[in-house]
Symmetry: C2
Subunit: 431 residues, 2 copies
């Protein structure tokens, strides 16, 4: 048998330090914005009872599950998303928390799909949900958070918009046009496909429901079709100074069966018009998952890491902001110790230990060797400073690696001095 060389599974990513730093940038931005909005973080298991996800999605996701029987004979799956787990958790613990719950989660999800640009078999999702509040204020809060997340990444009004819709408007429309309740899912499905399907295909399907395409398109174009919830959301966002970011678009209904009211999607305004994030109200899910034992209105949205990463990398300002982060994170340490006199290794280790104890990120080579090589290693590490330890001890030299300027310092009080020095700019060259 030929020796097999191992690689990551198709659709799964290794995160080398640069990729990991980029991922952490997304996580940190998501966390910061969510906390600014008063949301708290939770997490749920990566592996769940398959029934939980089949029950939630009505089987829609079942063909994409990483599903198996565990050693105890349980039918389990890697979570394809997290909302069903959240509904389970919220139903179990809701008594322990004042309502509404404002919770967020950053977690990895898994779907067996054909890998392509912008989609793998695993992805990270930022999930933000409000449970226990039925009013449109909660939807407005989430839309505002979605907008501020985009702004935190450096996106501007010309880069994206939020298309807001409300399934209630379609329920009202259906009632007005005497469409049977049982046919509403069919209606929503035609609306969902309207932008991509051929007009004659949509027209034919609508005809089966006793509707014509023109009537539907007129309803979508008519600003008067907006629901009460939409109007409240618009007024709320106007008060926040964020109304310019949203527009009514009743052609948005979102595929997943479980949405019950307001739905929205964050769109990239450029040619590609990708959905960067999406969500909406799902007032019946907690009851469904808990078999009716807990009834709790809920609304939420999710943003995946693939699309937002691509969008950031394709847009000038967000990309530059990311580059600054990566540059700063690329440094493995702030101070690299250069041992100019091998006899001083014990003293160097002592200094290293003291500086680290003081919270200064620093490093040195394991094997000493030529000073030039050590400086090379210092530069590779991305450190801002090299601290040269030689025969002049207890006196030391601090070099700024970018410009090779040199300062003298002393072992006594070194950690304090250096902590302070790191806060200072590098003098004339950077002034």
């Amino acid at each position: 048998m030929a020796a097999k060389s191992f690689t990551a599974l198709t659709g799964f990513r290794d995160f080398t330090p640069r990729d990991c730093s980029l991922r952490n940038y997304l996580f940190e931005t998501w966390r910061t914005v969510a906390r600014t909005y008063g949301f708290v973080e939770y997490d749920t298991p990566v592996l769940e009872d398959t029934g939980l996800y089949l029950k939630k999605s009505g089987g829609e996701l079942s063909s994409q599950l990483f599903r198996f029987e565990d050693q105890g004979g349980r039918d389990v799956c890697l979570r394809p998303e997290v909302t069903a787990s959240l509904a389970r958790l919220a139903a179990q613990h809701q008594r322990d928390f004042p309502k509404p719950l404002k919770w967020f989660e950053i977690g990895q999800c898994y779907r067996y799909e054909k890998p392509q640009k912008g989609r793998g078999r695993e992805f990270y999702q930022f999930n933000v949900d409000i449970l226990g509040e039925a009013g449109p204020q909660a939807d407005a809060e989430l839309i505002a958070l979605a907008i501020d997340t985009m702004r935190a990444f450096g996106f501007k009004q010309e880069d994206f918009m939020v298309r807001v819709s409300d399934r209630q408007a379609w329920l009202d429309f259906a009632a007005e046009h005497k469409i049977d309740e049982s046919r509403i899912p069919d209606l929503l499905q035609v609306i969902d496909k309207l932008e991509r399907a051929k007009p004659e295909v949509s027209a034919e399907k609508l005809e089966e429901l006793g509707l014509d395409l023109e009537t539907v398109q007129t309803f979508i174009r008519n600003p008067e079709s907006a629901s009460f919830a939409y109007e409240s959301i618009r007024a709320d966002l106007e008060a926040r100074g964020l109304d310019a970011y949203i527009e009514l678009d009743l052609s948005i209904v979102r595929g997943l069966a479980y949405y019950t009211g307001v739905v929205f999607e964050v769109f990239d305004r450029s040619k590609s018009m990708r959905a960067v994030a999406g969500g909406g109200r799902y007032d019946t899910l907690v009851s469904t998952i808990s078999n009716g034992s807990v009834d709790m209105p809920a609304t939420g949205f999710a943003m995946g890491d693939y699309v937002i990463r691509n969008f950031i990398e394709e847009t000038t300002d967000p990309r530059m902001q990311l580059e600054v982060w990566l540059q700063r994170q690329a440094a493995a340490c702030d101070v690299f110790l250069v041992l100019a006199d091998e006899d001083k290794r014990p003293e160097a280790l002592n200094i290293l230990s003291d500086l680290r104890q003081a919270g200064i990120s620093c490093d040195m080579t394991f094997t000493g060797g030529k000073v030039g090589k050590q400086f090379q290693r210092a530069e590779q590490s991305g450190a801002r400073f090299a601290l040269v330890i030689g025969s002049e001890l207890p006196e030391l030299k601090l070099k700024v690696l970018a410009c090779r300027t040199e300062e003298t310092c002393h072992v006594l009080g070194l950690a304090d001095w250096l902590t302070d020095r790191i806060q200072q700019p590098d003098g004339p060259l950077l002034a």
Copy 2:
């Protein structure tokens, strides 16, 4: 069919906000210490080719794997640990990085075991590794990092110690006692079990190898049995002021087959004598995983989240330090807006949006209502301040919730004023 109530799978944890905060405390401490030591973060997939882990562990972990065939017919498993993935990744990418690599990962691992106190079917592991450096300085660096991780959690010298051993000492011992190379795994296995097994059982097994228990015990007790690597490590840690934390203990060999040299374990000094972390040198793994195409010495250690969490909660100072963190994190926001005049909701939303834009974590109720109820909600949120918005606008009142002292402020320049105010203590009561 009776309706089924969903719960998390046996051995899997939900992280409610408090648990999530505690988990993040471990992660943040791990990250901070690793970065202070100049390590950079990476990550690898949760799902891997089963062959990768069977190859690494020699089948040792195979009975504990969450293993299944994916939709594409691949034999895959949830990673039981991460070192094999690291070896794969390092072999693939080593040309892109100057050596040695100083890398760390915080990731979830999965083992199908009987759940019990201090062990689930998933756990988080902090993995710290140095690849590309064969000298004992790298082992010393890792031991120092393990010690400083414990100290960062608030543990003191009386709480823990690091027992250091070296398989090389046993190889030398075997050579001296003419034990065939093929029997060395058997010898290491007896040593590994020595502390827990009955003396007569160990004696019998040693006899099969042509040894008597007394000889082995004398070797273990004799400080002269220390290897060259141990002596270097001790001297290195002495220079760092950390030698009091370690002791030579040749009875440690660590079960996993793949260790090749220095091994160590961090022990809880209390009665329970749990191993809190452990690791060692595995100079042949990268070559094994890469089928000999890359040869790279390596050393590393891992710390799981279950044991360290229990140990922290059982030890006074570390527990108090954790409590301070949880207390601080328990606040969902810093400032809670109380709407004393419902007509001012648009203005309140505008203020909310401005403050958040300035990075101040703040919140308000969705529905307004009685001021007393809003104050109650403010207190539940853990916020330090309530900002009362009423008919006096543009004047506002800021209340410190802990002591109900009141200050007047103004909408103009509010974000700056509040940013500054948050930095200040609360006056007489806290002075």
